[in-house]
């Protein structure tokens, strides 16, 4: 049987650290890079007698995530204890949600531009929406560091609000998995729910993957993959694992349900543990926390739902007459989209503003790894620069020079233009008339050529005017005027 006769079924469990000021169940600050164990208290250290208190902000953010992803929020949501022993878990149980999570259902629309660049030309399921099972809220564990003969634990991270987003087994390829993570991340960042940076551990994912033959109803045996800390790692690990599973089946072996680990250095997956080692988590309702009634939270959060990336993209295309691609670049990040809108609103040529942002501004920012929030050119200043070019007051090339100075100095376009001594070109017809008349009088041959239909000679005559005006005339205006006079 050919390898193409197999297809993969993939489901993702994504953990996202929520952007809250304090932890899930205590007042300790959520802060990265603080000295180890300096952001702790009896609650997040699991000291005897300490009790958890819910972080309302974390609940609201999770409900907002649900609204952004089209989930429903049940009227009552509750908290459960998930029991297992590990030194990075202070209570040896994790407060999580078992059967009544904050969000159910929903889906993640896969953005065309969220696919890996090399895969965007051949998307198998354009417009696909990956269905979600649920989203629940739980607490993060501490961070262990292992030394040669001991381990140390930093509890600063323990108790950070962690949102778990579980997809249905609805993803068919490594590329779709990549697009799912990328689209999801974009939405979470849009909602200001998380920075969702996988490489910083703010977004982590476990992947379930199985393969089966086409035509086979029953899902194949699934393997859980761990330890992928970037979207491209997820893609690579899945590609490797799907190939491996097909080979196993092709060579007559079966798949045993197990957890495998991605080794990025070796570029392969490795067996961690089989299902026999699986935990019985003994979930039960946490008696320390009351169930949450969600009606009031939903009402409050509904007022805070932001425009989603795809909605913004569609609006940009119609409102600013820009291409779908440009709109997707500009809408890819909320701060960038806001920047563009500030610059484009009231601009003479919003499309030109889009070009400047994408072709000039972004390349400089990306080169210096500068986030748009730290952009040295205020959006209003960029609009002024583009308008100045549009009005013909400086040339496009002069504009680029001005832009370069603005990036370095943060000066306004007016200041730079003045310093550079760029003078606005001679546009005034009255002033130009004399020069043009002189040139027409002095060049009868080319004038005749123009009159007899040789339009190219207009360029020669324009050049003569430019010479006479020492380059100060606006060549566009000059050729227009010559054309009129000789027609």
């Amino acid at each position: 049987m050919a390898r193409t006769d197999y297809f993969a079924t993939i489901g993702l469990e994504v953990h996202v650290q929520l952007k809250t000021a304090s932890k899930m169940f205590c007042g300790c600050a959520v802060e990265y890079g603080a000295p180890p164990n300096s952001r702790t208290c009896p609650v997040c250290l699991g000291m005897p007698g300490a009790l958890p208190v819910l972080n309302q902000g974390a609940i609201e953010r999770t409900v907002l995530a649900g609204l952004l992803l089209g989930c429903t929020t049940p009227p009552i949501s509750k908290w459960d204890r998930k029991n297992y022993y590990y030194p990075d878990m202070p209570k040896n149980y994790q407060i999580s949600q078992f059967d009544l999570p904050l969000c159910l259902g929903g889906g993640v629309p896969l953005d065309h531009f969220a696919y890996p660049k090399d895969a965007q030309k051949a998307i198998a399921n354009p417009g696909k929406v990956v269905k979600l099972t649920r989203i629940h809220l739980e607490e993060d564990v501490a961070k262990s560091t292992h030394h040669s003969s001991s381990s140390s634990i930093d509890f600063n991270r323990a108790g950070t609000p962690l949102m778990e987003i579980v997809s249905e087994p609805d993803i068919e390829s490594p590329e779709e998995a990549f697009a799912y993570l990328n689209s999801l991340r974009q939405i979470l960042v849009y909602g200001d729910l998380s920075d969702a940076d996988m490489e910083k551990g703010q977004m982590r994912c476990d992947v379930n993957v199985s393969v089966r033959k086409r035509g086979q109803e029953k899902l194949g045996t699934k393997i859980e993959l761990k330890n992928m800390n970037s979207m491209s790692n997820v893609r690579r690990a899945l590609k490797y694992e799907i190939d491996r599973q097909i080979t196993e089946l092709e060579e007559g072996r079966s798949i045993t349900q197990a957890t495998w680990r991605w080794d990025d250095d070796l570029g392969e997956t490795q067996m961690m543990r089989t299902k026999e080692d699986a935990h019985d988590y003994r979930y039960f309702p946490d008696p320390d926390l009351l169930p949450v009634e969600t009606a009031a939270i939903l009402t409050k959060v509904r007022t805070a739902v932001p425009e989603l990336p795809h909605e913004k993209r569609e609006r940009f295309v119609t409102a600013y007459q820009i291409s779908d691609y440009d709109a997707s670049v500009l809408a890819s990040e909320r701060a960038l989209a806001d920047y563009f809108e500030t610059a484009a609103d009231g601009a003479k040529a919003p499309k030109k503003v889009a070009n400047w942002v994408i072709n000039n501004l972004l390349s400089v920012l990306n080169e210096g790894s500068i986030p748009i929030s730290d952009c040295p050119i205020p959006a209003e200043a960029l609009r002024e620069l583009v308008d100045t070019i549009e009005k013909g007051e400086i040339s496009n090339n002069q504009g680029k020079e001005v832009f370069a100075v603005m990036i370095d100095s943060g000066q306004s376009p007016g200041e730079v233009i003045k310093e550079k001594g760029y003078e606005p070109p001679m546009n005034d017809t009255g002033e130009l008339d004399a020069f043009i008349d002189q040139v027409i009088a002095e060049n009868p041959k080319p004038v005749e050529d123009v009159k007899s239909g040789n339009v190219k000679s207009i360029n020669f005559l324009t050049g003569q005017v430019m010479k006479l005006t020492k380059g100060k005339a606006n060549p566009k205006v000059v050729s227009e005027l010559i054309g009129k006079k000789l027609s």
């Binding site: 005897p48 007698g49 209570k91 008696p287």
Partner: protein, 484 residues
């Protein structure tokens, strides 16, 4: 008469009249403890200097100058908090429990660590991981448990009052056995923040005192909502003491027939029946009621309490604090050995039971079914409190047994809680107070008999008022054990 025999209310008058100072009271109770506690074992430790220092800083309030013994599982900053367990040897509390913050704000002085059954698991104080406590009325007998030390030090005048905790009867039963007053507040009345959890949905901190009036004073001081405990309700705290005097004429008291069945000792039955007569003579009306699910309470209690305990006690792993086995060579061994060495037998038994009832495949049959029955038990009380103002029952079916007598029979021991666990499952309040004395068949010394007044959630005022009127009409509470 030594100051140590006085009540909070009496000492308040003496302190306010400047006839005595806080230091005199501290000395009086600790001198008594120094003299006799090696025989009683009510305390695990005390710190006279810290008590003096706290007394010097105590703000004005109903408890100013009053030293209060604290059960060894309530966190008092800078004091040991070992839960009478070897696994918490040398553990010092890093913060004050909310009840202690409230106690201090009322001027109270946390004094000494009262002995208890390890992690509050037991009914006899024999499960203390440190040492057993003895009943001041008969040193061969148990003081009850798990707040056995708290009850013993109050009865033996080694403390003016004490704080205990009640998960299935752990305040009321030792109070009955030692002849003092014990109150289990309604669930959510007193913050649990800082109370080392045994069973979170059942635990409540409450007072053990010499009189009902003192219980009202102490309850008023420690109660109130707490932003650190989501299960502590935002109910205003009434003037419990001020409402003691109001008439009880016309109050309806229910006698649940399921509490007066065959297993009860005849002396206890007749003492409680005599108390019912006393209430009638005070103008109350006695009504027979039925609580059909009473019989289920014991089983439901042991499933829910141990399930919660199995998770609550998981944190004692030797990683961050407490006993860490020096023998371990890997992580799994460190867990297993630290816990095996640190926990006592009963605690291990209950963790195993709790782990079992939550296990996949057994959860529905045990834990879930127990929760459903818990709802029915609660419903029994709701129905009863539609007919009556309070219920009158015995506290324990039998008098305190001799130390060691039932050590090998946990089930017999569990029966000691048969009349008390329902209140915790239903979240209602319960008051235990002396209603007589008896000489057990196997002994020569008299021991106290306790009765229990059960009230609807947050109806502490009602049962305190009833108890106070009964106490005023009787003199059981004035008797003192002969410690010599």
């Amino acid at each position: 008469m030594s100051l140590a025999t006085h009540t909070i209310a009496e000492l308040r008058r003496l302190l306010d009249a400047k006839e005595v100072e806080a230091k005199d009271i501290i000395d009086s109770v600790l001198d008594a403890a120094e003299k006799q506690d090696d025989r009683i074992g009510g305390y695990l430790s005390w710190d006279r200097e810290k008590a003096y220092a706290d007394a010097a800083q105590a703000p004005e309030g109903p408890l100013q100058g009053i030293p209060i013994a604290i059960k060894d599982l309530i966190n008092v900053k800078g004091h040991p908090c070992g839960c009478a367990s070897k696994i918490l040897t040398n553990y010092v509390a890093p913060y004050d429990a909310t009840s202690i913050v409230n106690l201090r704000e009322a001027g109270g002085i946390p004094l000494g660590r009262a002995n208890m059954d390890e992690f509050a698991m037991g009914s006899s104080n024999e499960n203390s991981g440190i040492k057993p406590a003895h009943n001041p009325w008969d040193l061969e007998r148990i003081p009850g448990g798990s707040s056995g030390g708290s009850a013993a030090v109050v009865a033996a005048n080694e403390a003016i009052a004490a704080l205990g905790s009640d998960t299935g009867g752990s305040i009321r039963q030792p109070a009955a056995f030692c002849g003092c007053v014990g109150l289990k507040p309604s669930y959510g009345r007193v913050s649990r923040f800082g109370l080392t959890a045994y069973a979170s949905s059942l635990d409540q901190i409450g007072p053990l005192t010499k009189t009902v009036e003192d219980a009202a004073i102490l309850l008023g001081a420690i109660s109130g909502s707490d932003p650190n405990d989501s299960t502590c309700l935002d109910e205003s705290v009434p003037d419990y003491r001020g409402s003691l005097e109001g008439s009880i004429a016309g109050k309806k008291l229910g006698l649940p027939k399921e509490y007066f069945t065959e297993g009860i000792d005849p002396a206890i039955r007749s003492a409680v029946e005599a108390a019912a007569k006393q209430f009638e003579s005070l103008g109350a009306e006695i009504v027979d009621v039925s609580m059909p699910h009473t019989e289920q309470a014991m089983g439901v209690y042991y499933i829910i309490a141990t399930a919660e305990a199995s998770a609550n006690l998981a944190r004692f792993d030797g990683v961050r604090y407490g006993h860490r086995s020096p023998e371990a060579s890997n992580l799994a061994e460190q867990y297993a050995k630290s816990r095996a060495e640190g926990f006592g037998h009963e605690v291990k038994l209950r963790i195993l039971l709790g782990t079992y009832v939550l296990s996949s495949g057994y959860y529905d049959a045990y834990y879930l079914r127990a929760q459903k029955l818990r709802t029915l038990i609660r419903q029994d009380f709701t129905n009863a409190f539609e007919q009556v103002d309070a219920l009158l029952t015995p506290v324990s079916p039998a008098p305190p047994f001799k130390i060691g007598e039932k050590a090998s029979d946990p089930l017999a021991m569990y029966l000691a809680d048969i009349y008390t666990t329902s209140a915790n499952l239903a979240g209602i309040c319960g008051l235990s107070l002396p209603c007589g004395f008896m000489t057990p068949k196997d002994g020569a010394r008299e021991v106290p008999i306790g009765m229990q007044l059960l009230g609807a959630p947050f109806a502490e005022s009602t049962i305190l008022q009833l108890g106070h009127h009964y106490e005023q009409a009787t003199d059981w509470h004035t008797k003192q054990p002969a410690l010599g």
